[in-house]
């Protein structure tokens, strides 16, 4: 009964605001158009890609392009590389940030404030400024074409430390007092009390780190020469130039590279929004 009334009310609101919906749908179509066209072209036979006028609908969708992307071009290898890279970076960033944030939020030690500023100051150095010496370091360590080379420079993040510290500071101080009485050491307190109470903040950081790592371009381009070590981003960009005879397959690969991140963004939207706006709220 009640549900029916809410439904009726909703229907009425939909009807009265139909111009608004028209605007929403038009805007959504505008935003999705590049993605839509890529999907259409990824389902075309190659000959159809080169004809004018362009098709807005695949007459006979060629799903085999997607199979070809997984067999004829090394998409599975690229995906694996990206997964390992993004996974290691995410795990590393969450760990180092949680440790440092814990020290800044719960421990008392000399130079705490200056050290916190040292952390924050790293946010002012754009990564692009340090690529030359960092590339030389990785070269000297003989880490070109390795997962270490792809991940180690990114295992710490001031943004993550800041984000987690803000959350840790909202936890009641009494927890720490109780833990002290129970004889919990710092690490035990962090692992068994702070972490379970901070799952949302940790998830925010994890989603953010994973998305950023997966989508990286400049650094993987520099430190991978071996096609087997390419990440998915470098892979599709390179294939797009190399495999002109298989553009449709490369486009299918592009969609395959995008879909996991699209799902991540949709499923964890709430966390992502919190991460992206962390800077905005503080100014």
């Amino acid at each position: 009964m009640r549900r029916r009334r809410t439904f009726a009310r909703a229907a009425k609101r939909v009807a009265t605001s139909s111009p608004m919906y028209a605007l929403l749908v038009a805007s959504a179509a505008f935003i999705l158009f590049p993605l839509y066209m890529t999907v259409v072209d990824s389902l075309q036979p190659l000959a159809k890609l080169l004809t004018y006028p362009p098709d807005f609908w695949p007459d006979s969708p060629q799903w085999s392009n997607y199979r070809a992307a997984m067999t004829d071009i090394p998409m599975p290898r690229y995906m694996l590389n990206s997964l390992v890279m993004a996974g290691v970076i995410t795990a590393g960033q969450v760990t180092t940030s949680a440790l440092a944030a814990y020290a800044f939020a719960f421990m008392r030690f000399p130079l705490r404030t200056p050290l916190f500023f040292v952390f924050l100051s790293t946010m002012m150095v754009p990564w692009e400024v340090s690529i030359i010496p960092n590339f030389q370091t990785i070269q000297r360590l003989d880490w070109i074409d390795t997962y270490q080379g792809l991940t180690v420079p990114f295992l710490a993040t001031a943004f993550g430390t800041f984000l987690l510290r803000q959350h840790f500071l909202t936890l009641p101080r009494e927890l720490k007092d109780a833990a002290d009485i129970d004889g919990y050491g710092n690490l035990k307190f962090l692992l068994f009390v702070v972490v379970p109470l901070s799952r949302a903040a940790l998830a925010t950081l994890a989603v953010f780190s994973f998305l950023q790592a997966w989508n990286q371009y400049l650094w993987p381009l520099l430190v991978t020469n071996d096609p087997d070590m390419r990440t998915v981003q470098i892979g599709i960009a390179a294939l797009q130039a190399e495999e002109v005879q298989r553009t449709n397959v490369v486009l299918a690969g592009t969609i395959i590279a995008l879909v996991p991140m699209l799902l991540l963004v949709i499923v964890f939207q709430r966390f992502l929004v919190r991460g992206l706006t962390a800077g905005a709220v503080k100014g």
Binding site: M124, P126, W127, V129, I132, Y217, Q240, A257
Partner: protein, 313 residues
């Protein structure tokens, strides 16, 4: 806000107190070290050392193999700042900034206002409007490469259908930068929309109620409640957009390689070219340091402005 005052001093002579505090400080520092060192070591190796090293390299010239370093002093920085190529690259970056930040902020604001409506199913539109945040620079560029194709691309087709003159988007020096900017705007729209929408949601409902009670029209509401309410957010989005623009690389590398005729040779692409294609490590480092100073100034402007805006709100 950050440090709390240390424990109340014990009533003992100053000398002994200081010594005891020093001893306790050392113990505390040893306890905190395992928590801080992982991050600090990584920052030292991959942020601070490279920064210092870049400045150092900027004072040196390198042979074409990038091996020998010869001290040339401040001269190289002067050369960079006065070289027509670098100045050109700065101008291109500036233009690129204008072409990306203004549209992305404006369209982001429009989309956020649309998505802010309380309507059934609005969550679907919110998701769609923020979805481009998932698209990497490589994915976005490959997608737009297709749309921008001068012969069979959809963009020229639509222009042709509406009777306009078609354009060789990525090979015409006049249009290459706007075309790369278009790709970038699309890619950044998700971020802009998410942040501006969050800003809108932070405006207290009572302000709107008060405005309505005073008989404000929707336009009044927008001008006197919404706009002042989200101006700090808009500022944040634009400054972050400017910083993004100064760091852009992937879309240039995939779409134009800095060409045609250097018309899209933005600063990071120029650094990449000098360092990794021409092996001019010293010159590229000097350029990187200039980039650092620019981004640092922009960040400081953002902090100062944000403080002000938040204060006056």
């Amino acid at each position: 806000m950050i440090g709390e005052p240390s424990a109340a001093p014990v009533a003992t002579p100053a000398e002994r107190r200081r010594r005891r505090r020093g001893a306790r400080g050392a113990t505390e520092l040893i306890a905190a070290a395992p928590f801080l060192l992982p991050s600090l070591v990584l920052f030292g190796a991959f942020v601070f050392y490279p920064l210092v090293r870049s400045i150092y390299l900027g004072f040196h010239a390198t042979d074409p193999f990038g091996r020998r370093e010869i001290w040339v002093g401040i001269e190289q920085y002067q050369d960079v700042l006065t070289s027509p190529d670098f100045v050109h690259s700065l101008l291109v970056t500036g233009q690129f900034t204008l072409y990306t930040v203004i549209p992305a902020t404006a369209i982001g604001l429009y989309l956020a206002l649309l998505a802010y409506q309380r309507l059934p199913g609005i969550i679907v539109f919110r998701t769609i409007f923020s979805s481009t945040v998932a698209s990497s620079v490589a994915v976005s560029s490959v997608m737009f490469l297709l749309l921008l194709n001068p012969g069979v691309g959809v963009l020229n087709y639509l222009i042709d259908r509406t009777g306009g003159p078609t354009v060789s988007w990525l090979t015409d020096p006049t249009w290459a930068l706007p075309a790369v900017a278009m790709t970038t705007v699309w890619m950044n729209l998700g971020f802009a929309t998410i942040v501006i929408l969050a800003g809108l949601q932070n405006i207290p409902e009572e302000l709107y109620e008060a405005a309505r009670a005073d008989g404000a029209s929707p336009l009044d509401e927008f001008l006197h409640v919404t706009l002042p309410g989200i101006s700090p957010t808009l500022l944040f989005v634009s400054v972050v957009g400017v910083i993004f623009a100064f760091q852009s690389f992937g879309q240039i590398h995939i779409l134009t390689r800095g060409g045609p005729l250097d018309s899209t040779n933005v600063i990071v692409y120029s650094i990449y070219q000098e360092a990794f294609l021409h092996y001019n490590i010293g010159l590229a480092s000097a350029q990187a340091v200039v980039l650092f100073v620019i981004v640092l100034l922009l960040t400081l402007v953002q902090f100062a402005a944000a403080q002000r805006w938040v204060f006056y709100r």
